[in-house]
Symmetry: C2
Subunit: 146 residues, 2 copies
Amino acid sequence: MSASERRIQEILEKLKGKYFRITPQRYAILKILVESDEHPSVEQIYKEVKAQFPTTSLATVYKTVTLLKEINEVLELGFHDGNNRYDGNRPYPHPHVICTGCRKIMDPELAALDELSREMARKTGYKINSHRLDFFGLCPACQKTG
Amino acid sequence: MSASERRIQEILEKLKGKYFRITPQRYAILKILVESDEHPSVEQIYKEVKAQFPTTSLATVYKTVTLLKEINEVLELGFHDGNNRYDGNRPYPHPHVICTGCRKIMDPELAALDELSREMARKTGYKINSHRLDFFGLCPACQKTG
DNA sequence: GTAATTGCAAATGGTTTGCAGCATC
DNA sequence: GATGCTGCAAACCATTTGCAATTAC
């Protein structure tokens, strides 16, 4: 059993435990989110699900993504320009490196961030619960293209 | 001449140099942005400008804020939940600490970030141009309120 | 005087919502 | 069989846009 398969099973159990129903659409959306490391948008998920279940509606994709976000199994990368992306692999805050050319998103390793959170809490008196760190630039491919 | 007054003059010169006109509404919006350290929203700016110029429209506030953003004199803190905030004091990327209770935003000092940018560039091959770092939590006042 | 800006109202577009019919459990 | 889910269409709402009248220069 692969890591993705195991993760899918875990999430299914979590849903069942909360008496949410496992519909074919939900299963398909969950699978796409967990198996992709492209940080897909709702639109991309929609397109993929439709290939399997042509009657699927955008509303269902939104509802399912929101559900998975609420049970903390998907991280939403909200962009105010309306191209939100979703991470079903690492549903906890972590940094992203985002290409402003092709919109590719990577997950770099960066251990120092938790220490920064603690430092911010100490300096400001805030109780820090979460964070968001994005680096913007051009990926190697887009640098060549000009 | 205070620091804000100096900054306002600088931005006015920049606008004149680009043949943008200094209308009373623009001047008022600019002044609000530079003199506030509350990271005001468009709605808040609108309310304040209206006190001086009652016929001012929201569209004008949007247009002016966009203009100031484009000449790199205002930093937009876009939030995908539709409560964008604007920083007219430090129009370059810098971290923010955001209260999820009352929406208060602070600007903590954090020198280590440029080094992180370079580290990301090295690790990923991206050419990093910009970044965004937000910490979310409860400010001291909201911690007491519960 | 000319060209830019304002302010109104309408359009936009991603996301959410109401609800009737359907599927899961 | 009861309840939750789907899919449709309409509603939402911050922001943008078109345009005629106004104003800065």
